[in-house]
Amino acid sequence: MAAPHETPEPAIVIRDLDMAYGSFVIQRDLTFTIQRGDIFIIMGGSGCGKSTLLRHLIGLKEPARGEVIYSGGRSLWEADETGRQAILRGVGVLYQKGALWSSMTLAENIALPIEAYTDLPKDEVKQLCSLKLALVGLAGFEDYYPSEISGGMQKRAALARAMALDPEILFFDEPSAGLDPISSRLLDELILQLRDSLGATVVIVTHELASIFAIGTNSVFLDPDTKTMIAQGDPKKLLAESKDPKVRKFLTRGEDQSTSAKGAQLR
């Protein structure tokens, strides 16, 4: 089915990407495109390199081969350090553990990047921090330290920080890890609302099926055995149409009758 927008400019193009730790290859020949406005899911079983792929996209790990090209044809890894920093200004990241700076209050966490990259006066920065915290439902928690609030609140505060510089692309590393089902769904809804209101592109690394089907508009599926991507597309369509047994098994939690052998094996 054709996408609703006509020939949109892609947000990120990944071309022939190989990922490796030393000589140990994790994934190879990854080629896919993340369109603007997508909620793009990077999925696959544990240990297939999802989070490592994320680290390649946000400039923390250099690919063994291939390119990551951001909109405007800017290649992340061919740029020099300043160029890379310029590209990453348009990027916000929500880390798996939140990664709030533990020596600073929530407001200071959000204020740090704003103060570094804008020349707003102090009280405006403060207002902006309060606004970001209010957006994620944490109004009034400006002066709390990350260790003083719950895991779910830390995630949301980290989301507020990720949005500090109004990024065009938001990355999420396992957003629902460690959250109860309700908080996890609320976070999904928050992601959707923010995408719609800010017009941001969202890239999510996850293996949470409920989230994948609820908010994903496009996806890639990484396979640890063949060490490459074995499917891409709308996750709901993949569930309906994919012929690949591994993809089907993953998307149905291994309960798909047509692929698993009779007599439910424990494998």
Binding site: S102, P113, A116
Partner: protein, 384 residues
């Protein structure tokens, strides 16, 4: 009065019974919990090996009253031994729970090559690997020193991005808050120096020279050295643990994606705090060390306070103090460097943070002592 009721569970027992043509029935009875010390599988295994004409093995657990992993371990061992001897095993006579667990344990076959060898590596192999690791670590250290120098460049040109508040808090942590421990150690070291010196000097009736010994020894050497060793254990370890935990929590990654250099943001304030605070601590330690020596001199060696002070003032020059102060600043750099280096190299686990802290202390103390040795040689050559 109710009579005392005691449950005595029947002890676990195993009996072997031959079944007509080629079978062997293992009859189990009693309490097969680990806490009941069930019989081991070794006896059954040896018996099995002795029976060449057995081709089928069955279990009968009808008389088992209670079981847990104790029974499972027995079953797994005996059945594995039986399978190895090409004996067909039938678990039919076991409780259904046991059967399910055994099926579960066998459901996923062992992955080829997954098992880690526990064999001892040959010594040459170990030496080679250790040498390679040493080379790699030295490389990392040189790279880190390089990055730190670049960071210093940023700092001097005012381009390093860090929070002044952080730097001030750090300065407080490794300055004012260290005063207590530095006081205690310095006074004691002064006392010890005076004691050891007085025993020797008494032989010549030259007790008064204890003041020279303590004064010069503390100002040139012990003040800076003791402060450095205290700070290595106190602050160097803290730096490594702080940065290591930040690495584990992805906080350093978060800094990088926001375009903050971890060197500028984390290492520079720590380095500055130590470089600035160490000379102050050193001077403080010098004074308290001399004070400690004075206690021994005045109370035990019959030297009057005025005499002791005059003797000390006569023995010391400003140069002696300056030598200690310069040394302490250098030691400060070494402590901050090794603490931050180990913290930044930290792996992503809790035990790695512990290892980083330990290694930070060891590295800084080694570097401090080596640097102190170099200072001594250098000062000797220069004749200062």
């Amino acid at each position: 009065m109710t009579a005392e009721v005691r449950f005595e569970l029947p002890k676990a027992a195993v009996t072997l019974e031959r079944i007509k043509p080629d079978g062997l029935m293992v009859r189990l009875a009693g309490n097969w919990r680990i806490s009941g010390h069930p019989p081991g599988a070794a006896a059954v295994e040896t018996q099995l090996r002795g029976m060449a004409d057995v081709h089928r093995l069955g279990y009968d657990a009808a008389a088992v009253t209670d079981w847990d992993s104790g029974l499972l371990a027995f079953l797994v061992r005996t059945s594995t031994a039986a399978t190895a001897a090409k004996i067909a095993v039938d678990f039919g006579g076991l409780p259904s729970g046991v059967q399910q667990l055994l099926k579960l344990a066998a459901a996923v076959p062992e992955r080829a090559g997954a098992r880690r060898g526990t064999t001892v590596q040959p010594i040459l192999d170990q030496i080679g690997k250790a040498t390679q690791a040493l080379g790699r670590q030295s490389g990392e250290m040189v790279a880190f020193i390089g990055e730190t120098v670049v960071g210093f460049g940023h700092l001097i040109r005012g381009k390093a991005r860090f929070r002044m508040v952080d730097a001030l808090i750090l300065a407080q942590e490794c300055g004012a808050q260290a005063l207590g421990i530095v006081s205690l150690i310095s006074v004691l070291v002064g006392l010890i120096l005076a004691f050891v010196g007085s025993v020797q000097l008494k032989q010549f009736g030259a007790q008064i020279f204890v003041a020279n010994l303590v004064g010069v020894g503390t100002a040139r050497e012990m003040g800076a050295l003791m402060t450095a060793i205290i700070m290595a254990g106190r602050t160097g370890a803290a730096f490594a643990a702080q940065l290591g935990t930040m690495e584990v929590n992805e906080e350093i990654d978060a800094l990088k994606t926001f375009g903050f250099s971890p060197i500028d943001f984390l290492v520079m304030p720590r380095m500055m705090a130590l470089i600035i605070m160490m000379p102050f601590l050193c001077v403080y330690s010098d004074l308290l060390g001399i004070f400690g020596g004075g206690i021994v001199g005045v109370t035990m060696l019959d030297i009057s306070l005025v005499q002791y002070v005059n003797q000390t003032l006569g023995a010391l020059t400003l140069t002696d103090f300056l030598i200690g102060i310069v040394k302490s600043a250098v030691f400060g750099i070494l402590i901050a460097l090794s603490g931050c280096l180990r913290g930044m190299q930290c792996g992503r686990s809790a035990s790695a943070v512990g290892a980083a802290a330990t290694s930070a202390v060891v590295t800084s103390i080694v570097l401090i002592v080596v640097a102190d040795g170099l200072f001594s040689v250098l000062l000797d050559i220069l004749g200062i």
